[in-house]
Amino acid sequence: MTGGTELIETVAAPMADAVPERVRRGRGWGPRIWIPLVVVAFYVLAAIFGPMIVTFDPVATDTANRLLPPLSHRDDGSLVLFGTDQVGQDLLAQTMQGARVSMLVGVATLLLAGFIGVVVGVVSGYFGRWADAVLMRVADIQLTFPGILLAILIAAVIGQSVLNVVLILAISGWVTFARVTRGQVLATKNREYVDATRTLGASNWHIIRTCILPACTAPILVIATLDIGSVILAEAALSFLGLGTPASTPSWGVTIANGRNLLSSAWWVSTIPGICLAILVVSFGILGDALRDRFDPKMKGI
């Protein structure tokens, strides 16, 4: 081990310094990633801190100041940025409270659906055989039901609460995660480095932890980002139909439903939370698309 090493030493030493430059190239976060990210961050901040600043009391009524349009003033001179609804509640406070509920439901749903989906995907992809057949047929059966129909059915059975909404949406959302994870596991498990790890005596659990799961993170993150918009939308739809969060926890869907009869006289009650919802969902959509292009350039344009 003498002759060969010296020869290489001279060649490899300058290369070692040059390599990181080359690696960094092409890792930019373009505007397609950071603009929606800023919007989402703004929503998150508003959802966390907004209700602390502008407190919302679901049972308070102020009938003297009902249905004030946006940017008008109450009797006491305070500004109502988003207007008030039919019982005189501040729509800004209600919207920020709604953001809190909607995003909480969205994130909790994704965590639950993602967990179920990843476990199912890894089990069926890695161990295969009958487990794969059974789990994927269950997923197929699940997919034959329209998501919202299934959600309505379950909601009607188990009743209204924030936790139930999370459960319902996770039940109809895990399949995507399971399928993506399974595909990624199948693509990874026969890679040579998995065999190499195995020849060093690694257990299945160790291989799943060090080889399989790291390979799954990027696609799962992309799916989660693409999905969170539709989960928030589904939550709003459920609440709008009166099957989601109870009226005492006003999510966007509840507020939109409240203003439905007033659209001709007080458009803002439904429209403003609607716009908020739309902007957030669109932002997540763009972010998800951009992340997909970023992590999986081969999928670009599909």
Partner: protein, 346 residues
Amino acid sequence: MRLAERPTGTAAPGTRTGPLLRVQDLSVSFATGSGRLRAVDGVSFDVGAGETVAVLGESGSGKSVTAQTVMGLLPRPAGRIDGGSVSFDGVDLLDRPDSYTRALCGTDIAMIFQDPLSSLNPVFRVGTQIGETLRRRRGVSRRKAREHAIEMMHRVGIPAPEKRVDDYPHQFSGGMRQRVMIAMALSMNPRLVIADEPTTALDVTVQAQIMSLLADLQREEGMALVLITHDLGVVADVADRAILMYAGRVVETGPIREVYDHGAHPYSVGLMGSLPTGDQDRLTPITGAPPDLRQLPTGCSFHPRCAFATDRCRTEEPVLRPAPDRPQAHLTACHHAEEVLADGIR
């Protein structure tokens, strides 16, 4: 993964009787869309402790499948072991559950793969990967494992290992990656290392370096080394013995100089003839193509490409026998070994 599971009696090399690895009459087949194909057909060979054995053959000759079977890496359920045994240290691995082989892996048997980029985990630093085995199997602390990784990287000739230990596999060149792979395989001082085409994916200049590194480490460690390759040139100076495979069977085996200089099988003679030697104007290729494993020729599977073929070759399958008038260890599976040898002298 616990240490207590390590199943072998840790007899010091040399005190054991019998070979370290004994493959006997091994047959492996694969399910394909058009029926089963026999990838390995009745292969037998021994590898003694501290010995370097080259397994030679072209693509599809069954050499890699043999290695995969030994390591318990056969893709299931497509691959199936139809018969035979693989004994390590006198224990038949095929009789034991997979977990037994797993426990031997790393500590007693290790493997080096063909493509060092795809055989390193892209998401972990190389130092972590080299030290991982030690941390898992021996419960060594993170810091000790890192020191060990640096030491191993130094031993396999990676310059400035203190700096490079925190690099990722893609930041290394091909030859350096293969050195990392070797460091990983050797980090537990295995008694047997199987290298499956360790130089095929590398530059010609780097091939020789990696080969001499493997030879040096083999001498220092006293481990047994099985070199699987289709490149006869790279193993010529390194291996003690050669095993030549064709269409899933061993066609010739013996001391490497014997097989290279006094080939007693038309296939090995043909392989040598296809190597550039410098004193010839053109190379002599072996005519024809490797056989379709799903429809092997009857009798000797090499007969359609063989100049010596007679009717006997087309009907009767040759078995390994001592090469006529050659040292005893030299075996060949050819009906016409006498003529082949005589032809070689001419």
